[in-house]
Amino acid sequence: MIVMSNVYKKYPNGITAINGLDVKIDQGEFVYVVGPSGAGKSTFIKMIYREEMPTKGTVKVGEFDLANMKLSKIPFLRRHVGVVFQDFKLLPKMTVYENIAYAMQVVGKNPKQIQKRVLEVLDLVGLKHKVKMFPNELSGGEQQRVAIARAIANMPRVLIADEPTGNLDPETAWGIMDLLEEINNQGTTIIMATHNSDIVNSVRHRVLAVENGRIARDQEQGEYGYEH
């Protein structure tokens, strides 16, 4: 599903964020990405949805070859890769409904399909009663649920979560975690970058520890932790 081999990423300012990274993630896996700040975690995540491009090496997501992809193809990759951020990134001037509908309009779905699916995903994240609210009227946890609902609206094969619980209190964080588990059970690959050791140690999954721009540890049912 996702294959990276011998990947390097050097930024224009001279910093090498990824330094010969190899990894392979299968469809339906749940993978934690851990590591200290500045280890290349974010760059690794961003390369999966072509926010960053490798300087060298190959990155493949499904049938997309990200290192040799035309700019005009990026939108189509992103329709297969849902992304959830620490700061939610909801469109502030759109309602909950419109935020999710937007992601589907982009794909060209018709209003009927959109309405059905939006209510379906909102039901899944437990926010069906808040369709008409604006993001600033919701709590952090609720906003993150909307972001997740948006990310899965188009039934992507991969869901990337970049510190999805980073801004949330522990209890809310567990709620989000349950939701991600459920989505994973439906067959979606989940790649989650996190600093939350409680979650990683309690809900065991494959752990990729990124250090110095490489995978320092790749462990099934792994624990949280890294050398430095």
């Binding site: 949805y49 926010e51 005009s72 990026i74 939108p75 189509f76 990759l77 992103r78 329709r79 992304v83 990134k89 909801l90 469109l91 502030p92 001037k93 937007y102 992601a103 309009q105 982009v106 794909v107 060209g108 018709n110 948006r150 188009n154």
Partner: protein, 295 residues
């Protein structure tokens, strides 16, 4: 792109104008103020130009006919003058008519000169096809037979033409400069409203929107802001011009001078202002989002 998608973009842009509230009002007012300035100046300068032309056309060449000329000499002279390409029309004014004019302007004392004592000449009054040709025609007429003298205001008229040309050129420069300013101001205002929405565009890209899918609503929004902004000056200028036209024309009645009639002049201004608004609005917004779409 199908009609449904276009319809979605149009609805989306209306919604966005509403939800951006103050930002939209600010942009619309900026467009309105700028275009009001442009429109008023154009109306004023175009009329100044019209008046200048009226004044110039009022200048005619007066050809004094030698007292020694017989009837046939005079007819010959008239034919010669009419043969000049630059001459548009010829009028004849006899020495008696001329004296009547003088008496009319300066008083009855000149009545003493009536009859054989009349010191004036018979006159051909020429109008030229274009005001700049006046001096030329005067020179040619001077060389003809039985011409006692030619008068067209000479240096005074030349000076008048020079001033009028200057007025015209300066006016054209001001109008062009104003249009440039308007373009710059409107494009910049719209740019600022879009800059404040850069995260919005970033998020749209993240969920997989193509560039055109993002661009269309912004483009339509820009055009709408330009259009709405232009409607305000269009209304004000139309109202003021129609009112002002009636008032000023009353003063000008009985003279050679006239303002540009509202029809079709006002239509041109309306078309110009709406055109600037819409074109600059949509262009300004699509140029501004270009940099956000690149990454």
């Amino acid at each position: 792109m199908n009609i449904k998608t276009m319809w979605r973009h149009i609805k989306e842009s209306f919604k966005s104008i509403k939800r951006n509230g103050w930002m939209s009002i600010a942009a619309v007012s900026a467009v309105a103020v700028t275009l009001l300035l442009v429109g008023s100046f154009i109306a004023i300068l175009m009329n100044a130009n019209k008046l200048a032309t009226d004044i110039e056309e009022d200048v005619s060449v007066r050809v004094y006919i030698d007292l020694a000329a017989e009837e046939e000499d005079r007819i010959q002279l008239e034919e010669d003058l009419a043969a000049l390409d630059e001459v548009e029309s010829i009028g004849f004014s006899s020495r008696a008519d001329e004296l009547d004019n003088v008496i009319g302007s300066y008083g009855d004392e000149f009545g003493l000169f009536e009859g054989d004592d009349n010191p004036l000449y018979d006159v051909f009054v020429l109008n030229t096809t274009s005001p700049e040709l006046t001096a030329d025609v005067a020179n040619q007429a001077e060389d003809m037979n039985y011409v006692a003298g030619v008068n067209y205001g000479g240096a005074t008229a030349d000076r008048l033409f020079y001033i009028m040309d200057t007025v015209r050129n300066v006016g054209a420069i001001i109008i062009i400069a104003l249009i440039f300013t308007a373009v710059f101001l409107i494009a910049n205002t719209i740019r600022i409203t879009i800059f404040s929405r850069s995260t919005e565009i970033e998020i749209m890209k993240l969920v997989g929107a193509t560039n055109w899918f993002i661009r269309w609503p912004f483009l339509i929004e820009g055009a709408l802001i330009g259009f709405i902004g232009a409607l305000i000056p269009v209304g004000i200028i139309s109202y003021v011009y129609l009112r002002g036209f009636d008032t000023i024309m009353r003063y000008l009645s009985g003279t050679y001078f006239a303002l540009l009639p509202p029809q079709p002049f006002l239509y041109y201004i309306i078309a110009l202002l709406l055109g600037i608004g819409v074109v600059i609005g949509s262009l300004g917004s699509s140029l501004s989002i270009r940099r956000f779409l690149k990454v």
